[in-house]
């Protein structure tokens, strides 16, 4: 509970970030979605010991973060909240893979530690890219982008309705949980039967609410389809963004400038 309850107010904050204005916010959501997906695929397509080719990819989140005027501290906190799963799986790598791959002076670093570092780096990069996507586009725009890119209409409508009622039902559940906490002392009162009846009450209310929503929608001419009337236009800026980042990411992926730069610098100093 602690995690969801404490991150729930954040949810609205992430949405409010999307209503800011910046060059990134003004881009077409389709362009941002495609670029983010390409970024993620590029990052995870490296082999498991890749570390140095991954680091330059940090340029994408850093540039977008600053251009979109997003608060870095907030995104870092969200990253930390989400990190346990990747860390839990990755932490086994040093245990199982003890082959020495890297010597830094007299220090020997095993393949497991390198691949763990690689996993955590991938995690930070991919999650940061996804969070920036949401924070700079907003959920409605992303749904619209999905619809225009060919996602089934029923799924998009489902996403939009879910997002709309999340706050209503979330508040209701928070009130229920708070009321229960005030009436139960210690662990008493959070047994399974009590929770089941609480949930069932919430479910019954939800079903009634769904019926009311349906009638209200029916009154306004609902025929099983939501019509999204918002013009989406891919302009010159959007095209530049897409082509520029595609070229940059593919270059980082396949050419890998890091060793070259390193060699150039190394050649100069030694």
């Amino acid at each position: 509970m602690a995690r969801i309850e404490s991150s729930f107010p954040d949810f609205g904050y992430l949405d409010s970030l999307a209503s800011r204005d910046s060059p990134i916010h003004r881009l077409d959501p389709r362009v941002k979605l495609l670029t983010t997906l390409l970024f993620i695929v590029c990052v995870v397509s490296f082999d498991r010991y890749a570390l140095s080719p991954l680091l330059p990819f940090a340029i994408y989140p850093v540039v977008l973060l600053t251009l979109a005027k997003l608060p870095p501290g907030y995104l870092l906190r969200k990253l930390l909240l989400a990190s346990p799963f990747a860390l839990c799986i990755g932490i086994f790598n040093p245990l199982f893979d003890r082959a020495i791959l890297l010597h830094v002076g007299s220090l020997e670093i095993s393949g497991g530690w390198i691949s763990l570092a690689s996993i955590m780096l991938r995690f930070v990069l991919t999650v940061a890219a996804a969070l920036i996507l949401v924070a700079s586009s907003g959920f409605d725009s992303l749904c619209l982008a999905l619809a225009r890119l060919g996602a089934p209409a029923a799924f998009v409508v489902q996403l939009l309705l879910l997002h709309r009622y999340l706050f209503v039902l979330g508040d209701e559940a928070l009130r229920l949980a708070r009321a229960r906490a005030q009436r139960s002392f210690g662990r008493h009162g959070i047994e399974l039967p009590v929770v089941a009846s609480l949930l069932a009450q919430l479910l019954l209310r939800t079903l009634d609410r769904a019926q009311r929503i349906y009638l209200a929608m029916k009154c306004r001419g609902f025929d099983g389809e939501l019509r999204l009337l918002r013009p989406l236009r891919i302009g010159a800026t959007d095209l530049c963004f897409l082509i520029g980042w595609t070229a940059a990411l593919l270059c980082l992926r396949f050419v890998g400038p890091a060793p070259m730069i390193g060699r150039a610098i190394g050649g100069m100093s030694w």
Binding site: F11, I40, I119
Partner: protein
């Protein structure tokens, strides 16, 4: 058990995306063919209900820890499999986007594991036959527990398989399986108990409602076989295309293929094959090789238990890894840190420019 982007390869992620997209399109089509538009707001609000329900936790007897509802099974009982699948998929999408639970590339895997198995396997094949139309509370409880356990075990198995095939984590297949399955057995029991309790409560508070819900939204009909065939075809095509791509580019999977095939055959050069057919063959050969190798390793370790074996595999790994010469890796690291520095500087400059006006 949300998988993260960091732990999967593009091949696994892409194949699961394709499979999930196929099921989503199929479910949406079935829903539209059903013609009952009252289910649209119901699905949306019930999806939000799943979120809300996860905030109300309870203590698991005897362990001191607490759990909450997962939701796939409950939604299937209330909405039928197609609508439930779409609702769960949307819940997982929102979790991926807003809570960073799982990633965008892993979304296909997560929807498959947490929505497909409960909605299209556990519910129609286990819950419905066991519970029947007018079931007693006890029967609902048994059916819900069994169905939830099966759904979650399949999901956990899929997580292990996807992680293993991606080759990013070093966890051996067997060990990971032994970690995941018992945990999800316990989660399954709790999920089943809670689902059954909610269902029976609703049944007693509003008699007939569940029966009406089940009747108006029939489960899988004859289209199921065709769906499966289409899915398999789609998966095979995507897998083939992506693995061809993967085999021409050196990435994790190819490394894994090289790794597994390099030890058994000298005559078959695994790395310089370019034809799609050979790539596919390699893909299918990947699993048996790996499991054989795993079995041999653990067998040796169990039988002899000597450290020499471990050292042997260690040095072999070091050999198979391409150039580990200190110079290249060091210049790589240097260049990478430098470009990180440049990225950071760029950020600072942009930040300054932003604050000036």
């Amino acid at each position: 058990m949300h998988m993260a982007d960091a732990l999967i390869s593009p091949l696994v992620g892409g194949v699961m995306w394709a499979a999930t997209a196929g099921i989503t399109a199929y479910s949406a089509r079935r829903l539209q063919a059903n013609g009952d538009d009252s289910v649209v707001p119901l699905m949306g609000v019930l999806g939000a209900f799943i979120f809300a329900a996860q905030m109300i936790n309870f203590s698991i007897p005897g362990t001191g820890s607490s759990g909450h509802l997962g939701g796939g099974m409950l939604l299937s009982i209330l909405l039928g499999p197609h609508a439930a699948f779409l609702a769960m998929a949307s819940v997982l999408t929102v979790q991926a986007l807003f809570f960073a639970d799982g990633g965008l590339l892993a979304l296909g895997c997560n929807i498959f594991n947490l929505a497909f198995f409960p909605c299209f396997v556990a519910y129609p094949l286990i819950y419905r036959p066991l519970a029947g139309a007018h079931a007693s509370a006890k029967r609902i409880r048994v059916a819900a527990i069994v169905a939830a356990i099966v759904g979650l075990q399949l999901g956990a198995l899929a997580v292990v398989l996807a992680t293993f095939l991606s080759g990013v984590s070093e966890l051996p297949f067997g060990t990971f399986l032994l970690l995941m399955l018992p945990i999800h057995l316990a989660i399954g029991v709790v999920e089943g108990l809670l689902t059954a309790a909610v269902v029976t409560f609703v049944d007693s508070a509003r008699p007939g409602m569940l029966a009406a819900a089940a009747a108006s939204r029939p489960p899988l009909q004859r289209g199921g076989g065709r769906l499966l065939a289409q899915l398999l075809l789609l998966t095979a095509i995507t897998g083939g295309l992506l693995s061809w791509f993967a085999s021409t580019r050196l990435d994790g999977l190819e490394w894994a293929i090289f790794h597994s095939s390099g030890r058994e055959a000298l005559s078959t050069p695994a790395t310089n094959t370019h034809s799609l057919a050979t790539a596919l063959q390699e893909r299918t050969a990947l699993l048996p090789d790996y499991s054989f190798r795993q079995a041999a390793d653990s067998g040796d370790a169990a039988a002899a238990g000597d450290a020499g074996e471990v050292a042997g595999t260690g040095s072999e790994k070091a050999q198979e890894w391409p150039d580990v010469s200190a110079a290249t890796s060091f210049s790589g690291l240097l260049g990478a840190s430098l470009s990180m520095l440049v990225a950071g500087l760029l950020g600072l400059v942009l930040l300054r420019r932003r604050q000036r006006p």
